[in-house]
């Protein structure tokens, strides 16, 4: 028995309907922890290089971690993995809610799906019983309706699902699965992958228990976290208003981008306007607090919107990333439009970052006269909330210009042959809502992480974006080892199933203590560093095998201050993203030119035999 794990992984091939289980090995658990650690290892083995992201060889994984479905605070997350149709490389994204714990309680640490079904299907898992079921009757439904229908159909009121909406069925590159009605592994086109497989949903019901090595220790750690939270202003603010509490401060400080990354918060998005899209203002619609599984913080909330142009009987509080992408990035401070865009993304299954950023790109193109008739007569001016909602509705329905924009800004620029100069992307995916000119370490993660364009990949940027400055953040010399250490720690956190926010309100090192207590492994700082580094290299190796080198990864020029802004708090800032990348790769044992991890590092970290064989030959395994 493996403590902290259900002990099995499920593999389903939708082409031939094969369903098989594999025992989770101790070696995989101890050296890759869970989530995308497992995912990178499994996909490297299952998928050939050069697989079509929308073809049968691509594999989509839904994977939990050792804290998932235990009593560990913040341990409610699951991760999706697949090759991305957006970036052409490795992709992982994670989500909260209750789907992950339910999958694990149903008997599986992970589910991997490949192949393509002839007809629409959904996968039904109920306490170890697995079926591939017809989904013709739910094809075309939105994600909330699908949940209602499947709860009724399975007679399981506690059913949890991860489902795509119509954009995913149409293979939209910015579509994603939605679980629990409003939680999403949003980024990188996971909805399109499910759609390409004719896979409408994963529906799970589980009642099993996960064995924990030292339950008393887990309780003790939970108490430590509770005590720390009582003293934490961050915990109070997140627990009261959610992540959107920081939206106004971020817009004005330069932390969040403004006007498609070309504006200045204090100039273009005045303080009164900024306050309007902050959670403190919008929270007057709050009806109920929402917490993910085992979360003592509860940064979510349900809303009821009775006024404005788009009343909503029941909707959810927008996250910071959503409020910034549809708010400051589009120069929009119309809260009813913001709430409506958030709701549409949830029920149709769109990544809110890419959706908001794609509209911001189209807005700038419209204002600059680059796009006019392409936008079906919609006057997409800066801050025009009604136009924003109209465009997003077209994207949801796949109608007119929306059919093009639903594939993201890079696709649209290529399709129309216009507006490339206004793209704010990293390797094709729209940038998230923390600006590298404010937190320069993010330039490295956005550009060079194996999953580009993410704000949850650790590194020195993860400290800087919270406003902390341990050293001069604009001094780019000697950043490599600290950057690697913070990245490795985040790899472990993400793979453990813990929420990113646990680190904002807990004492340092808690994640290692949880892993030790739950699994029984000795998981100290040194092992954590090695494990995180190993997981990073496994993800990186997936891209190397695809033929991707560091020079193939790019980042929008505005995001690194080239040219710099001329005013505001970030005026004059230019980021040396190349040096940050070189520093990191050197510390990680990766050649900056070829992208190849060096043999000594691969052998020292171990358990990367397939990578050694592919890069250096089987003789090196002897």
């Amino acid at each position: 028995m493996l403590y902290g794990y259900a002990g099995k992984m499920l593999f389903i091939n939708l082409t031939n309907g094969e369903i098989k289980e594999e025992v989770l090995t101790k070696e995989l658990a101890e050296n890759f922890i869970g989530a995308y650690g497992f995912g990178a290892k499994v996909l490297y083995k299952m998928m050939p290089a050069g697989a079509d992201p929308l073809g049968p060889e691509n594999v989509v994984g839904f994977i939990t971690g050792p804290t998932t479905a235990t009593r560990a605070f913040f341990g409610g997350r699951y991760t999706t993995v697949h090759k991305s149709p957006v970036t052409g490389g490795w992709n992982d994204a994670n989500s909260g809610g209750y789907f992950g714990p339910e999958l694990k309680k149903a008997g599986y640490d992970a589910l991997f799906v490949n192949g393509i079904s002839e007809k629409p299907v959904y996968i039904y898992i109920n306490d170890g019983k697995v079926e591939i079921r017809n989904a013709s009757h739910i094809w075309g439904m939105d994600t909330k309706k699908v949940w209602e229908v499947l709860k009724e159909e399975t007679k399981e009121p506690k059913l949890r699902i991860s489902a795509i909406g119509p954009p995913g069925e149409r293979l939209s590159y910015i579509s994603c699965p939605i679980n629990d009605g409003h939680r999403a592994p949003g980024r990188g086109g996971g909805g399109a992958i499910m759609g390409s497989k004719n896979l409408k949903a994963i529906a799970v019901r589980g009642t099993g228990d996960i064995p924990v090595k030292d339950s008393e220790k887990v309780t003790e750690i939970n108490k430590i976290i509770s005590a720390a939270m009582k003293e934490s202003q961050t915990a109070y603010a997140f627990g009261t208003w959610g992540t959107g509490v920081g939206t106004p401060a971020s817009a004005l400080s330069g932390d969040s981008p403004v006007k498609n990354w070309g504006g200045v918060g204090v100039v273009d998005f005045e303080d009164e306007k900024a306050q309007k899209v902050g959670a403190i203002a919008i929270d007057r619609y709050k009806t109920k607090k929402y917490s993910c599984a085992n979360c003592p913080l509860g940064c979510g909330a349900e809303y009821k919107v009775e006024d404005g142009r788009w009343p909503l009987e029941q909707t959810e509080r927008p996250e910071y990333e959503t409020a910034a992408s549809f708010g400051s990035t589009c120069l929009c401070y119309e809260e009813d439009a913001l709430l409506m865009c958030n709701e549409m993304c949830n029920i149709y299954g769109f990544d809110t970052i890419s959706a908001g950023m794609t509209i911001a790109w189209a807005m700038e193109c419209y204002e600059e006269g680059v796009l006019k008739e392409e936008l079906d007569g919609i006057e997409l001016t800066w801050g025009n909330g009604a136009a924003m909602v109209e465009i997003l509705k077209k994207m949801c329905e796949g109608e007119g210009c929306g059919k093009i924009l639903a594939n993201g800004s890079k696709y649209a620029a290529k399709y129309w042959g216009k507006g490339e100069e206004y793209l704010q992307t990293a390797s094709g995916i729209e940038l998230p809502m923390h600006d590298p000119r404010f937190a320069p370490g993010l330039a490295r993660t956005y550009q060079f992480d194996p999953t580009p364009g993410r704000h949850v990949k650790g590194g020195i940027g993860s400290i800087q974006m919270g406003g902390n400055e341990l050293t001069d953040k604009y001094d780019y010399n000697g950043t490599g080892m600290f950057d690697l250490q913070l990245t490795a720690g985040t790899e472990v956190m993400n793979c453990s199933g813990l929420c990113y926010f646990h680190a904002l309100v807990s004492p340092p090192g808690i994640q290692n203590e949880f892993i030790s207590a739950i699994t029984g492994m000795e998981f100290g700082a040194e092992k954590a560093f090695e494990t995180g580094h190993r997981i990073y290299l496994m993800r990186h190796a997936f891209n190397v095998r695809e033929g991707l080198k560091p020079s193939d990864f790019d980042i929008a020029r505005r995001a690194v201050g080239k040219p710099p802004l001329t005013e505001g708090p970030l005026g004059g800032v230019t980021v040396d993203e190349e040096l940050l990348g070189k520093n990191f790769f050197e510390a990680a044992g990766i050649d900056y030119e070829t992208g190849k991890p060096n043999l000594e590092t691969l052998k020292r970290l171990g358990h990367l035999e397939e990578v050694v064989e592919d890069l250096y030959g089987a003789e090196e395994l002897a």
């Binding site: 202003q233 961050t234 603010a237 997140f238 992540t243 959107g244 509490v245 920081g246 106004p248 401060a249 971020s250 004005l252 400080s253 330069g254 932390d255 204090v266 100039v267 303080d271 900024a274 306050q275 902050g278 996250e319 910071y320 990333e321 809502m433 923390h434 404010f438 937190a439 704000h455 949850v456 993860s462 400290i463 800087q464 974006m465 919270g466 406003g467 902390n468 990113y500 926010f501 904002l504 005013e567 505001g568 708090p569 970030l570 005026g571």
Partner: protein, 78 residues
């Protein structure tokens, strides 16, 4: 001299909106003035991004009469 103060982010808006400080005071003097009155906000005040008249400031930026100081508590990872 009189300094106008605006707060954004985690620090609630019920803190003082004006501070009377000696001539020649810098941002550190202002922050210490606030921390003395609101010790519970020390953590956030010390890590906040500060703008003076909408431009980036440091703790040693000298304040002048009628300057507007924005205290911005930024969070990462949202």
């Amino acid at each position: 001299m009189v300094i106008k103060i605006k707060y954004f982010g985690l620090i609630a808006n019920n803190l003082i909106s004006e501070a009377v400080l000696p001539e020649g005071s810098d941002v550190t003097v202002l922050l210490n003035h606030l921390i003395k009155q609101y010790p519970n906000n020390k953590e956030m005040l010390n890590k906040a991004s500060i703008l003076v008249n909408k431009s980036k400031a440091t703790t040693s930026t000298i304040l002048n009469d009628k300057d507007e100081v924005m205290i911005l508590t930024v969070l990462g990872g949202g």
